[in-house]
Amino acid sequence: MKSLIDSGPAATAENPVAGIDQTKGDFTYDVAYEFDAGTGLSERTVDYISSVKKEADWIRAFRRQALQVFQSKPMPTHWATRDLENIDFDRIRYYLASGQKPKRTWDEVPEDIKRTFERLGIPEQERKFLAGVEAQFDSEAAYSNIKEIVAKQGVIFVNSTEGLREHPELFRRWFGKVIPTGDNKFSALNSAVFSGGSFIYVPPGVKVAQPLQAYFRINAENFGQFERTLIIADEGSEVTYMEGCTAPKFSTATLHSAVVELVALKGAKIQYITVQNWANNVFNLVTKRGLAHEEAEIKWIDCNIGSRLTMKYPGVVLKGRKARGEVISIALANDGQHQDTGAKMIHAADETTSNVVSKSISVGQGRATYRGQVHIPKRLRGCKNNTECDALLINTNSRTDTYPAITVRGERNSVQHEASVSKVSEDMIFYMQQRGLTEGQAMSLAVNGFINDLARQFPMEYSVELKRLIDLEMEGSVG
């Protein structure tokens, strides 16, 4: 018996990227799960996941080893927030799925799950401007499809479970190579219990014109989502990947801990865009890193709205000569939220360049933290890094911190770091109010102006939605 629990406002059709609006994401349908690993984490949990996925022995061994690493590593509270201690790993459900194989058409997707994604606007976006879509519902993809014209070029776009099964050699060659299991406690956790996420391979010289999109939806309470994404862009190829995420508001904490690895081979370009708007009880602890070979380019565009705590520092390892890495990030921390974000640029070859632009907005008692790491070792020549981080404080009790760590050795390398903190001034708000804008509208406009130069780098549909999300966040910020 499936009942409908509907706590959210009615979805409307006019919104182009409805899926990332949290007010529209705040609903849940009661789904009967066919596969459930139960509550808590042990070797049995890991074995259960491996068994239902019918995985090869090496993956099962990989998971078990990762579980040991996870259990042996302490929480990183010596530098990060103690709020991490409030995650109760014994109360989380690590694997929930309705089926093992994603459907290729929306008609085949079970009604409740299809209804969720329709309400989030995913099939509509797919028709309008996407080259392919993967829609993950809790632990597994419910739907995954790629436009025929893109598939004919040899592009592979499947979920990680399928990727492992159908392209084991390609997958295994890069899996865990950019982000090793032991990179941090949460990458180890993901390596133990990962499920879903995308596997993408773009053959040499193929330029995928439209973006590929994945949508990650948490539906169940006390649930942990651990998707694993691996994108390989072969020599001279280009691809843009976008991800969106939402979860309904539950009274208990939810965990999202993904690992995303990108590999850009010689001359390839990968652009990875995230617009996440998690409900404000989600712990969002994600490890994202790319490996850029000679003359390759990896660009992370990362927009963090929502969640209780986000810790995410997208990075690029600049492995080949003239490789380029870029992180563009926007974070908005509202009351009860901590956006702990930043970037890592590891220069490992001559003439590599990196650029980091981070803008954060703290509203009410929200807290935004920037952590940046730039590493250029002594032996390298002609490397450049530019880092800019700007923080905007809305209220007097808002908080922002910046922790840049820049290590540059060697002689012909250049690094530039600029940071600024500004406050929305009362005079500016009065000026805008005098033109007829309400205080809330004035705040929204000031915030949108602050991030305008970055928002313009988003695809149009996303920048429109980003503006709307900011308007929604700012509405409640004035008393």
Partner: protein
């Protein structure tokens, strides 16, 4: 026909009285100039009319078309038809003039009604042509990195687009060289008409040779102490504010 009526207005900042019983009526089609020495409460008057939260009205009233505006927020007064051209306009980084004005025009539409973008730009460009402003101007961020003259022209453009019933212009001539002053004044003159009342606040007479007022008031120590026509401005210019002070001192207390 609109009117802005200021009745025996008293204003304080903290405990300090600044405006001390000021009365004035501005009708549509009229241009009034308030002149006076520095520190006499002219800019306070402008901000109080617009609803700046830093000032406390301790007595009297301000009425737009017979209705008191004192209980209204600054944005409500603005939408009711009150415009303030700022002495020091704020910078709004990242927000273009076109987008800012669009938001301001949108804010005047009834709930649920969307601005017609084509009609909006058509009107914007017509106003820019009227004020002889280059098309490229509106893609710049509001007041960011503007010269003194550009800031004031930006104020006049906003005034043209928002079509207020009453405009208070606070020291519009400050920080302008003679060419900029002429250009800005031409803009204001282009907007003069039967539908607009103007209250100009200025320290110097020179603005009034470009924008010729119908009425001139002298403000001193928080009050209007003398009113007349444009010849009063010329008299002030030749005799200085000390003349007014001396006249006042001669009056019985």
């Amino acid at each position: 026909m609109s009117s802005l009526v200021i009745q025996d207005l008293h204003v304080s900042i903290g405990d300090k009285p600044i405006v001390k019983g000021l009365s004035l009526t501005v009708n549509s089609g009229e241009v009034h100039a308030i002149m006076g020495p520095n520190g006499t409460g002219k800019s306070t008057l402008a901000k109080v009319i617009a609803g700046h939260p830093d000032y406390t009205v301790t007595g009297g009233d301000v009425l737009l078309d017979g209705r008191s505006v004192l209980a209204q927020e600054a944005d409500e007064r603005a939408r009711a038809g009150l415009f303030l051209a700022f002495q020091y306009p704020s910078e709004i980084p990242g927000v273009s003039i076109a987008n800012f004005l669009r938001a301001a025009v949108q804010a005047r539409l009834p709930e649920g009604e969307e601005i017609d973008a084509t009609a909006y730009y058509k009107r914007l460009y017509a106003k820019m042509d009227l004020l002889k402003i280059d098309r490229k101007f509106t893609s710049r961020s509001v007041n960011e990195g503007f010269s003194g003259g550009e800031k004031k022209r930006c104020e006049i453009l906003q005034m043209a687009m928002l079509e207020p019933k009453m405009a208070v212009m606070d020291e519009t001539d400050s920080g302008l060289d003679i060419d900029a002053l002429r250009i800005v004044s031409e803009g204001v003159n282009a907007l003069r008409g039967p539908g607009l009342g103007v209250l100009m606040i200025t320290h110097y007479q020179r603005l009034l040779t470009y924008i010729v007022p119908d009425f001139v008031h002298v403000m001193y120590d928080g009050r209007i102490v003398k009113s007349g026509d444009k010849s009063l401005a010329l008299e002030l210019e030749s005799r200085g504010y000390d003349w007014v002070k001396q006249e006042l001192a001669a009056l019985p207390a």
